[in-house]
């Protein structure tokens, strides 16, 4: 059994009347010659790292290398304790808090799971852990969703790129959002085909996103972008669950992403030579950090 496209992944799941996560798990067992139990254990270990990062990031003012970020999740949490009831319970608030928390922990040399990359490591855990917490799901279910996210990302890595230096931020936060969207659909009871639609919709809307980090650090705009991308992923999953389809199929969206990445100038691909990185404020920050 193998898959090289999103369509193949969905077809395999449909034919076996199972979930995408189950197909991803079985292929991993075959490919890597490791037992199912060991693979599940490794993914649960990843889930634990994600939970710890969220818990730490929410409660601490984090010292980061550039000092440009660090208290966003804390601030958001404090605001939400005094916010109106309806806002406190809003799943979007939980998602953006979790995403900020993880991305800040990453910026502060904390432990995270790079998925799809370290810079975009806040998106998948935010969506999965927030849905899990809201619905009292156990670790097993959340871990299964991580397989779905991983399988979707795996297809992108085979066909395109996951590096900002090669494809811009669309390849990092864009793909992270798409992976999270697909996983969210599965966690929320949707079909494999709906997961593919959510993946496509999330990625489509982030096409063209450039990578222009201030002073070359994974701080601005990266940390807050993780929160936006996570909320975006949840939006895509809701649309897909409602039966909304993506006119352009997921695999073609990946092709478009590759083409856009190739056309994107180098100054906007993780070189910090364009965009936000060359604004007067960014250049001043860069100077100050060098001293």
């Amino acid at each position: 059994m193998e898959y090289a496209t999103i369509e193949e992944l969905v077809s395999l799941a449909e034919a076996a009347e199972t979930s995408i996560s189950e197909i991803v798990l079985q292929v991993e067992v075959e490919e890597e010659e490791i037992t199912e139990a060991e693979i599940k254990k490794s993914m649960l270990a990843n889930l634990k790292v994600m939970k710890d990062a969220v818990a730490y990031g929410r409660q601490n003012n984090i010292q980061t290398g550039g000092g440009l970020v660090g208290d966003e999740a804390l601030k958001l949490g404090q605001y939400l304790t005094v916010a109106a009831e309806a806002e406190k319970d809003n799943i979007y608030n939980k998602i953006i808090t979790f995403a900020l928390a993880t991305a800040e922990v990453n910026a502060g040399m904390g432990k995270i799971v790079a998925g799809p990359t370290a810079g975009a490591s806040g998106i998948v855990p935010a969506v999965i852990l927030a849905i899990g917490e809201e619905n009292n799901l156990n670790d097993q279910s959340m871990s299964e969703a991580l397989f779905t996210a991983a399988g979707l990302g795996y297809v992108v890595s085979k066909k395109a790129t996951l590096a900002g230096a090669a494809g811009g931020c669309q390849a990092e936060c864009g793909v992270g959002a798409a992976m999270a969207a697909g996983a969210a659909v599965e966690l929320r009871g949707g079909t494999p085909r709906m997961a593919a639609a959510a993946f496509a919709m999330a990625l489509k809307n982030m096409l063209g996103l450039v990578c222009d980090p201030v002073a070359g650090l994974v701080e601005v705009p990266c940390v807050k972008r993780n929160a936006f991308a996570a909320a975006h992923a949840y939006t895509a999953s809701t649309m897909a669950l409602a039966g909304i389809r993506s006119v352009i199929p997921a695999d073609e969206v990946i092709m478009a992403m590759t083409e856009i990445g190739d056309q994107m100038p180098t100054c906007l691909k993780e070189t910090s030579r364009g965009g936000l990185a060359v604004t007067p404020t960014a250049l001043k920050i860069k100077e100050e950090l060098r001293d």
Partner: protein, 220 residues
């Protein structure tokens, strides 16, 4: 490729190339040196130099020199731990020619045995690394497979002897590089294998005439 390369690795942030890769470079240098490090001189080139502090590249390399893996939270406090363990270190910027933007040159010293090692290594993306120079000789060492680094007297048939020893233990060679500085001098070979050699293999190689040094480098 495993899906854990997509949903993983668990690592210390913020950057797979500038932090995880940097830690791996340090660890690889330590494995190649295989002796107590009294003093380390770390020279950073290009993007490594420009954003070292913000990415923790400096701390990650020193942490790697202390033997820490990319997911070890002690990387953050590596400077203090190096002081405690009596490993002197200094960090400086350097401009190297024709190398990857994320490159470090590392010199390691041991006073007691009067030993020195110098390597040049690059972080080539996603946390993957490549050692491109050992003691001035060009090499290509990635740490993605179990590897042996062997120094031997440059004599006819020496490489054949090494490969036959490995073959006799049913160890399959995936990639192999041989080089030397001067004819008849000391030869060096880097052997990447499909299997991990056990201690008997290493002893056998070490006891072989004309082999000066055998260094086993696990996957990193």
């Amino acid at each position: 490729m495993s899906i854990f390369e997509i949903m993983g690795p668990a690592m210390i942030g913020p950057s797979s190339s500038h932090t995880a890769g940097a830690a791996r470079i340090g660890r690889m240098a330590r494995l190649l040196f295989a002796d107590k490090i009294d003093r380390a001189v770390v020279k950073l080139h290009g993007s490594f130099a420009d954003t070292a502090v913000g990415h923790g590249t400096d701390r990650a390399i020193i942490g790697g020199l202390l033997g820490f893996l990319p997911d070890d939270e002690r990387l953050r406090g590596s400077f203090e731990l190096a002081d405690k363990q009596g490993m002197e270190f200094s960090l400086e910027e350097v401009k190297l020619r024709e190398v990857h933007p994320n490159t470090a040159k590392i010199e390691l010293y041991n006073k007691e045995n009067n030993k020195k090692l110098e390597i040049v290594a690059s972080s080539i993306g996603g946390g993957r690394i490549k050692v491109t120079e050992i003691n001035g000789s060009p090499v290509e060492l990635t740490g993605r497979m179990p590897t042996l680094w062997i120094l031997h007297h440059d004599r006819p048939g020496e490489v054949g002897i090494i490969t036959s020893i490995l073959g006799s233990y049913k160890i399959n060679i995936a990639f192999m590089q041989v080089y030397r500085n001067r004819k008849g001098d000391i030869g060096s070979c880097i052997i990447e294998m499909d299997h991990k050699p056990n201690e008997y293999v290493i002893k056998h190689l070490e006891n072989s005439e004309d082999i000066i040094q055998v260094r086993y480098l696990p996957r990193i």
